[in-house]
Every structure is written in structure tokens, then in C-alpha cells.
Amino acid sequence: MSSTHIYKRPLRFLAAAIFTVLLSGLLSARLVAVEVGGGGASSRDFNTLADGHRVIEEVIAPPRGLILDRTGRVLAENIATYAVQIRPGDLPLTIRPQVVKTLGEILQIDPVKITMTLDRATGSIWEPVRIASVVDEVVTRFIKEESAALPGVEVIFEPRRQYPYGELISNVVGYVGRIDALELSALLSAGYNELDYIGRAGVEQSYEEALRGEPGVRQVEIDVQGRIVRELGVTKSPIAGKSVVLTINVDAQQRAYDALAWGVKAAGNKEGVVTSVNPQNGEIIAMASLPTYDNNLFASGITTAQYQKYLNNKNAPLLNHAVGSHFPPGSTYKLVTYSCALENRVIGVDETLATPAYLEVGGQKFYEWNRAGFGRRLTPAQGFSYSSAVVTYQLAQRLKIDRLAACGRAWGFGEPTGIDLPTEIGGVVPDQDWARTTISRTLYDGEVLQSALGQGYDLATPLQVMNSFAALANGGTLWQPHVVLELRNPDGTLAQTIEPVERGSVGMRAATLAEMRRAARLVVANTLMTRNLGQIPLNLAGKTGTAEYGVRDKQGRLPYHNWISGFVAPTDNWSKTDADFAYVVFMHGSNTAANAAIEVLKRYLQLQYDLKRDYRIPGSMSIGNYYGE
């Protein structure tokens, strides 16, 4: 059979054998070249061989520090979330429909949506396209198990900020957000990159440096397209951010918040502030500002609609009104006027002044707030307790504006208190220099009188008002208020104590300040002015204020804010300077039948000091036209 037709050509067999040997040799040589030329561990040799590969240093983001309350309860923490993304370059087009279908089933997302997301993605095919955020961990484990069937599908770990107490203290804690291009260009050298989060408000912003920690560095090898081929090692480990411990106890915060929330609801005015501080060291005890916002919305990526809603709210929920808004301080500012008069001896402690219905200045009548006068002569302390406008006018006339303004600045008005919160503003203390540069003229005599009342051009933040009364309580020291008590290392050990900073002294004689403390107590005890406030079983002192603003209504009346600020002393001895609680309550545009701030303060003190009796007077928060001071 066929064997008879054998016709072999030896050269061809020889050629085939030689070809086989040559090919084996060529492949072996190439293998050796790749292997040995690659140089194994030496990345430098490696670079020259792997065409276009480079070794770059990449930043490793450190875990952000926590924010804790005074008792260690967590106010801001990091939670683990997972996101699913697809790197289109790793997903061959031919099998894309199948992978998308499988992924859609796992994530329970319409595959058409995934395809559309992929097709709409701009940029390099190596840039991952986000498919789903905050994915359940069980689902991510399933995706990882199926990774062989899901080329290009990646599960990434995303630490996210969570604020367990949300709106209760968001005005202090703040929130973090993705760094924007402008911030990045400024912070590039500090090791930030475009994926970083940065504190945008509150303590998250003001303690960004401590909370962030120190980024680490790792060396990675990237190819021509900039994709990471392999990690060569960590050259510097990231150092986790420090935790920030607040001076505030969330329970205390809750009391301030609840009192204020009740107040704005009862008064229907939407906006207000309740803040307290330890006058002995400037530690903020509580700081509530309404309306406020849910910082968790920012942490999980706020929707445009929700953000617009916050921005369009005329009561500015994103602003901490305690530090970021200023208002005419009204009669609370009489602390400045009266102390200034006593200090400058333009009036004696026992000297009395007449209280007519009005004072005529420059042909214009300046009325007492009750338009009738008090029918008797009053000492400065009595004038203060009646919040007499006419007495104040007379003191202002004796002081003149520049001396009055100097006293205002001495009490801390006109410049920021330096609290460790962002967006603090300094208010306005008008004097002739200010008037010349700002309104291009000198102040009229009538405007000087208004300034003595905390009206006119006067503007102050609630924090400044409180800080002036804290200084009164402690004998004249202006502490720099602070919300942060200490910084702690990631292992919990103390890293740094925030020492109280003394900004300065009011610079007035002890006698003056003692007289003013007694006067502030008289305000509380004066039933005409503060009704049952003096019945509260506390050594409470303070000064009320009603500050007109805005546009007159049809009856020619202006809307007004209500204030009360003061302190609680341990004993009834007003010569002492050992009070440990100073407060301010501000009710914006309250327009209530009685001073709304007093009612809120009563509620706050009841909660703060665990008082059995409720001193609030029914009906006082109804809409009305309270024109007392």
C-alpha cells in the first residue's frame, strides 16, 4: 500500500529539526533576556526595559481623625462604604453585554442604565466609571468572587464621614466635601489630591490640619497610560489624623438646642441662637443655631436640589449665626455704655438722672422706650435695670462717640473673638473715624445716641455679646472662646490641650465691673422688665435687648430681634467673679407679645439646671408687639 510510495527528502527533515532547535533556542534566549534584563528586584533597571514604564510616588490618604464630645461620644466618624466601578479598558467590548447583564443582576440595576453610564463616560478608557455607590458589603463579596467573569469590574473601598448627631451640632462640627480645583491648587504641596475630602465648615474646617493627619507615600510603577502596573512599596506610612475633643457635651448641646427649637417654633420666627460659655476659660458649653442643616447629607453627597434648598432659605441654615451673623445688639450693648460712663466718671454710682418722656437733640425728639418716662430720677444701675433710653442718651451725651466706641472695643466688640470656628465676623463699633471712611461724614448727635443703645450702626454677633457678659462675670478678662478642648492621637493618648487664650482685659476698675454685675442682677429682679425671671432659683444676672431693624410696617413700627445675655453666679455675692456659666439668647425677628429671648432662656435654664418649675409665661410667645427693652 502507501508504504510503497514513500518519498522522503532528508534535507526537509534536517531543516525541520534545525528549525525546531532554533525556535526553542530563540524562545529560551528571549525568556532569559526578559528575565535577566528585567533585573528582578531592581526597579531602576526595570524602568529602562519596560518601555514607557515609570516609577511614581503616590499619596496614601490617611484616615481622618474623629470628632468627639467632651465625654467621648462620637460626633464625626469614618464608616466603610463600597462602590462599584468599571474600568472600560479592562472590559472587552465583545463580552460587555454579558458582563453588564450579570453585574446588573447582582446590583439590581437595569443593565441599560449601566451601559448608558459607560457610554456617557468621558475621559480615558482606563478611568474608572462609577456604577454604584454605598454598595452592600455582601454584594461586593459576591462581585469579588465572580471577578473572573466580570473583567474590568472593580470594588473600591470608600471611607465616608458620618455624623451620628446630625443637626443637633452640625453648626459646630461642620462637614467635609470633595476638594475643589481652587483649593487643590493651594493645597497641592500639602499632599492633597483631587480625590481628597476637606473640611468645609465648623471644626471639620478649622481643625482640618489636625484631623487630616499626614499622608503617606507609596511607590508605584505606572505604564504609558498612567495605569498602576504594580506597587513597589510604601516609602512613608500615612499617619492617621488626630481626634478632636470638643468642650461641648452633647447633653448640654441638646438642652440649648431643645430650648431654642421650642422658642423658634413657639414664636414662629425660624432663626435664633442659644449659646453658653464658661467665663473662667472661654470653653463653649453649648452652641445652638437655628435653622441648621444635616451634615450627613454632605457626607453622602448632597443633591443639587437639597443644596439649593439650603442656599435659598433666607434664614441661612448653612451659617452658624452665633459667629457668622451680626445684628444690632440692642440694649445688651448698654453694658458698654453704662460701664463706660462709670469708668470714665461722667457719672457717679449714686448720682441720679431725670427720666422725662423724651430728650430733644438737634430739634428731634428721642423718646423713652415707654414714651412716658419713669417719673423719677434713676441711678445708673436703676437706669440699666429699667433699660431707660433717656438715661442712656444722657450718658452718651457726656461720653461722646469716640470714648463710647473705645469702651465698645474694650468689651470685645468690633473685632472677631478668635473662636476656633470658621466664618466668624467682627461686627461694627462706629466712631468718627469709622464714619468718615465708611459713610464719608461724621456721625450726627442722634446717631451717637442710637449707638449707645446698641442700635443704628452697631452690629455684633451673639458670641460677642455673650463674651462681653462672660468678661463681666469673670472680672474683666476677655477669653478667646473655643469649642475644642484637646486633640488626641489615634491611639487615644492626649496629643495637645487647647489652652485658654486671653485676648485681653476690659481694662476697667473692679468697682465699675462689680457695680455693673449688680445692675445686671437688678435687670433680672425688675418685674416690670423681666416679669418672673427673678423668681428662678438661680443667681441669675443679665441684660435684655430689643433691636429694631429692617423696614417699618403700616403702623410705622419696625420688626425687632430679642436678646438676653448674662451669667449665672454661684452665690448672691455680686462682688465675686467666680461665675462659671455665661449665656446669650438671640431671637431673630421675633415680634412676640413678650421678650421671646427671656422665654427661651427660662426654658434653657430649666433644662440646664434641671429646675422643676417651668417659669415660662403662657401667651408670651404669641404674635404681639412687645416694645419693652
Binding site: S2, F13, T20, E35, P92, P151
Partner: protein, 382 residues
């Protein structure tokens, strides 16, 4: 005569028959095949681990590899034992069945990539192209060694081309250009060593080159063209192949002299398709330069033994079979390793016995068993 060779008769019976098989078998080839299979099992173990599979899970690459390699060993043993003349008798029915399977694959088949390369039979995906290359070679050997055959005639060379053309086209439009080229390699390997005239071989090659544009225009659908282009010019798909190749080169470099061994596979990202296309790179990563050179040596040894068999063969069937199979294994091994080393385009051609895959291993075992059968069962007429 019976199932065995004439030697089975005699006082020693079956024992003598087995003894004669064992004596005549080419143990160098068997050793090379066995060691390649061991490499395949080792890589399956590593791959299963690096894909995070439970080793004994029914879907694990390792367990499946054990099954496929076992089936390959059985196939090799059984085919070696059977007289090759019987199999040659069934060459044409097998060839016809193979064409039907290829057509069925085109109509019903679909693999994970959306290409019609595999067909499910009893729930098992069969890559018909892998089977086609061996059965086509058997048919080629049969037609080239028919009674009237004159090795150096035009008609003989043309007949060879005609036998190879249908499976070649059916495989090419699956599209599985890699396997189609393997079939062509088998044709030229068989023709060259069986003594076909140089001018007719050259003529056939020229004809193929000339026909190609016509086939391109009329036979091949657009989507198939895209895939063929992607094979011929991997840069046409700028994303995939280049990335895979760089990953492979990095893996090879990380291997060093002796590799990272079985340890550490858990922490290392798997290469793209490291169980088949890039198994060589993964192997070098695990077993280093030594492992890589061993595999190249084993492939070279196996090919050399097949060429030697073709030279030794007392008949043309053995020459065509040996030459064709040598071409198949040299082409597969050479292209696969070369592409892992970045000196050949990236295709889905598996590394014989080392790459994971049932159809490839079993059909190669069938072909190699047939060569052994041809050695063992000499003497006597067909």
C-alpha cells in the same frame, strides 16, 4: 485479525501484547507529554488559588483540570492500544462528523465572549475547533496515503488542500483564526515531510494568498473581519492586548531564577486569562526561568520526537501524521510562548497540555496516541 497486532498471538497472550506495546512505545515522548501535563496540573492548582477558588469545588479550575488530564491520559492510552489502521478506517466518518460539529457550532454555539467557538453537548462546552485540527490531520494523512497517491504530484497536493479547506474555513469564520492557522500548519507540515513537490507546496501557498482577498470580500461577515483584524493587528484594539502583554512581561520578570513557587499566589492579582493564553507567564512567575526553560525544552523534545517518528516511519501515514502533529505542537507552543514573551501577536492559542482546556488536551492526546499506535502496531496489512 483481532483488535491487537499479530504479535498478540502466541504463548504469552495479552501480557505479551501489552509487553510489545510497552517495548515499542516512544518513552521520551511519553515523558515529555507527562511532564507537560504535570505542569498543567500545577498551574491549575496555582490558578485556582489565585482566582480564589476552592480547590475541590465543582467549578474549580484545579478539579476540572484533573478530570481533563485524566481523560487525556485515558484517551492517549486507549488510542495507543488500538491499531491505528482501525482509526484510519474511520477517518472519513470522523471527518464528516467533525464538519457537522463545526457547522452546528456556527449555528448554535456561543462562548462566553459571544463568539461561536464552543457548543454545548450534554452540558459540556466543546471547542469544536480544537477537535477539528486533529481529525483534519487524520483525514489529511489518510488522503495523502491512499492507494494511488504519488507524493510529489499536483493532484496529491491539491487533494490535501481540498481536505483541509472546509474545516479551515469553518473554523476561521467562528472566528478562531488561531486554530485555523494551526490547521494550515498541519497541512504544510504533513506535505513538506511526506515529500510533496516544493513547487506545488509553493503553488498552494500562493493560491491561498490569492484566494484570501476573495474570501475576505464574499465569505466573511463584517463582524468576523473585525475580529480577524484584531488578531492580525492587535493594536486595532488599543486597550486589551497591549495591557495583557505588559502584565505578562511584568509577571515573567517577577519570577526570577526559581520563581515565587506555590506560595504567595493568593496575594497576587491573576493575569488576564492566565489559565490559558498567559499560562506561560504565570508559570514563569511561579517557577522562574528554570520552569520556563523546562517547558520550552519539553515542547522542543516532543516536536523533535515527532519529526523523528515521521523520518523513521515505514509508511507515509506515519510521516504525514508525525509531520503534521509536529507542526501543530511547534506552532501552538511557539506562538503561545512567543506571545507571552511579547514577540508574537496575542491570540487564543493554548500551550499544549499546560493551558487549561479539555478539548485541546484530549484531541492532542488523541493525535499523540495515534502516533504511538503507529509505532507500536507495525507489521501486518491494513
Amino acid at each position: 485479525m483481532g483488535l491487537g497486532s499479530p504479535i498478540t498471538s502466541g504463548p504469552f497472550g495479552a501480557a505479551g501484547w501489552i509487553g510489545s506495546i510497552l517495548r515499542r512505545m516512544d518513552w521520551l515522548s511519553v515523558a515529555a507529554i507527562g511532564l507537560l501535563m504535570v505542569c498543567g496540573l500545577g498551574m491549575a492548582w496555582i490558578n485556582a488559588r489565585s482566582y480564589g477558588q476552592e480547590l475541590l469545588d465543582p467549578s474549580s479550575i484545579f478539579l476540572r483540570s484533573i478530570i481533563w488530564i485524566s481523560l487525556s491520559v485515558i484517551t492517549f492510552t486507549v488510542v495507543t492500544a488500538i491499531n491505528w489502521r482501525w482509526i484510519r478506517t474511520f477517518a472519513w466518518p470522523l471527518y464528516g462528523a467533525n464538519l457537522l460539529l463545526l457547522i452546528a457550532t456556527l449555528i448554535f454555539g456561543q462562548d462566553s465572549g459571544g463568539n461561536s467557538r464552543a457548543i454545548a453537548v450534554f452540558g459540556i462546552a466543546i471547542q469544536s475547533s480544537e477537535i477539528a485540527k486533529i481529525l483534519t490531520l487524520v483525514a489529511l494523512a489518510t488522503v495523502l496515503t491512499r492507494e494511488s497517491a504519488e507524493a510529489d504530484t499536483l493532484s496529491n497536493t491539491l487533494l490535501g488542500g481540498l481536505v483541509v479547506a472546509p474545516p479551515f474555513i469553518l473554523v476561521a469564520i467562528q472566528p478562531d483564526a488561531g486554530t485555523a492557522l494551526i490547521i494550515v500548519a498541519a497541512l504544510f507540515g504533513g506535505l513538506l515531510l511526506s515529500g510533496a513537490a516544493t513547487r506545488w507546496i509553493a503553488g498552494l501557498a500562493a493560491f491561498g494568498v490569492l484566494v484570501l482577498p476573495l474570501a475576505w470580500t464574499f465569505l466573511i461577515a463584517d463582524y468576523q473581519k473585525e475580529r480577524l483584524i484584531a488578531f492580525i493587528d492587535p493594536n486595532a484594539d488599543p486597550a486589551g492586548p497591549k495591557y495583557q502583554l505588559e502584565q505578562a512581561l511584568v509577571a515573567i520578570r517577577s519570577g526570577g531564577l526559581f520563581g515565587i513557587g506555590f506560595d504567595g499566589t493568593g496575594g497576587i492579582n491573576p493575569l488576564p486569562v492566565q489559565e490559558s493564553d498567559f499560562v506561560f507567564a504565570a508559570l514563569v512567575r511561579s517557577f522562574g526561568l528554570v520552569g520556563g526553560l523546562l517547558v520550552i525544552g519539553l515542547i522542543g523534545l516532543l516536536v523533535a520526537r515527532l519529526i523523528w517518528h515521521a523520518w523513521e516511519s515505514p509508511d507515509s501515514f506515519g510521516t504525514v501524521l508525525g509531520g503534521g502533529l509536529a507542526a501543530i505542537i511547534l506552532f501552538q507552543g511557539g506562538v503561545n510562548i512567543a506571545m507571552n514573551l511579547g514577540i508574537a501577536p496575542i491570540t487564543g492559542i493554548p500551550l499544549p497540555f499546560v493551558s487549561y482546556g479539555g478539548a485541546s488536551a484530549i484531541s492532542l492526546a488523541f493525535g499523540l496516541g495515534l502516533v504511538q499506535s503507529h509505532r507500536v502496531h507495525q507489521g501486518g496489512g491494513a
